[in-house]
């Protein structure tokens, strides 16, 4: 349990912003009282199911249950989540890819080019030189 708790806290911390960032809407109604963290373990095995504390967010209470296989998280299940129609829509789909370096024919370049030294080395400077 000593090793499981930090994992659980991180999991909750990771999920909470999802509700914080939903557009404002009426508070959801969740009636049940907040249970205390509880743990059930299969005797002799390394799989444990840990229920986290209820965390209050702007949109309502959130509680997760984590299944641990040894030290690894096997599954995360929502025990309670804000009853909010935008909850699902507010979780954006993200695509993960490999970082690639490329050269291409472009009109302009976006990047943190704040100083003039940076500018001199930048692609944008080359483009401007090419235009004139």
């Amino acid at each position: 349990m000593k090793r499981a708790l930090p994992v659980l806290v991180l999991t909750v911390a990771g999920l909470v912003p999802v509700w914080r960032y939903t557009p404002s809407a009426p508070e959801p109604a969740v009636a049940e009282p907040a249970p205390v963290p509880s743990v059930s373990a299969s005797p002799g095995g390394t799989t444990r199911v840990v229920a986290g504390p209820t965390v209050d967010t702007e949109k309502g209470p959130v509680q997760v249950e984590v299944t641990l296989d040894g030290d690894r998280i096997g599954a995360v299940r929502m025990l309670r989540q804000p009853d909010h129609p935008q909850t699902t829509a507010a979780v954006p789909v993200l695509i993960e890819e490999t970082l690639r370096a490329q050269s291409a024919d472009v009109d302009t370049v976006s990047g943190a080019t704040v100083t003039s030294d940076g500018y001199r080395e930048s692609l944008q400077a080359a483009l401007d030189a090419g235009d004139s």
Binding site: E96, Q102, V106, T108, T113
Partner: protein, 241 residues
């Protein structure tokens, strides 16, 4: 807030030289009034507790209100005055001022132009091909996007180092190498890019959830994380590196 500004106007016979002058004058004015690096700016005077004019001008009030909106939206990660530091509204002022400059061009009749201010871009009447600088190779790109009308802003550590503070910890945000946002206006794109960078890894999902925003981020682990709608250009004109 010194940064290079490039402007390209492709309208045939555009007779808006005055508007172009007004654009640059407006950017210089924004710098003089709102730069925290100028002791006599409105921002510095307010920061010293000597507001002049008092109360602050409507423009400074608008800028601070924008900053406050993003502070609340990020749960405090983005803050115009991080703990123990001075008032620095640059992240909002730059996008706000450049967008207002672009609006001047539009009002003067410009329809097809591309304005690049320190790596932040307002595009009109495209398609324009906008490269995103690779965070580790200044001369290379890590993405190319196509923009018809809209804005692109990038926040990163490679140019000014760890200058974006996560105000929740008071320490530099280090979860990302770079984060690029497209949005309808540069006011939104620039502020969202900086605010998301302050949030770190979780800032990607935060920015992606904002209406009208598409995101392309490079994490500290050198992985690309982007929204499906990020307007990546076709690869037809891409040259082999």
């Amino acid at each position: 807030m010194g940064f290079p500004v490039s402007l390209r106007i492709d309208d045939e016979g555009f007779a808006g030289a005055d508007a172009v002058d007004a654009l640059f004058a407006r950017l210089r004015e924004a710098d003089a009034r709102f730069s925290p690096f100028r002791e006599d700016s409105e921002v510095s005077r307010l920061d010293r507790g000597e507001p002049d004019p008092d109360p602050p001008t409507p423009e400074l009030t608008e800028i601070l209100a924008l900053c406050e909106r993003y502070r609340i939206a990020t749960g405090g990660a983005f803050d115009v005055r991080p703990p123990g530091r001075r008032l620095d509204p640059c992240a909002v002022v730059k996008g706000w001022a450049v967008q207002r400059g672009a609006d001047l061009l539009r009002a003067a009749g410009a329809r097809r132009f591309c304005l690049n201010a320190g790596g932040d871009v307002v595009a009109a009447g495209g398609p324009w091909r906008v490269g995103v600088r690779h965070p580790e190779h200044a001369g290379r790109l890590c993405a190319v996007l196509e923009l018809t009308d809209g804005a692109v802003a990038t926040s990163a550590r490679y140019e000014r180092g760890d200058h974006i503070i996560d105000a929740r910890t008071g320490r530099p945000a280090t979860g990302l190498l770079a984060l690029t946002v497209t949005a309808p206006t540069l006011t939104e794109a620039d502020a969202v890019a900086t605010a998301a960078f302050a949030l770190g890894r979780e800032g990607i999902a935060w920015a992606a959830a904002r209406p009208g925003c598409e995101v392309f981020a490079v994490t500290a682990a050198r992985r690309v994380v982007r929204t499906p709608g990020f307007p990546t250009a076709g690869r037809a004109r891409e040259t082999v590196a």
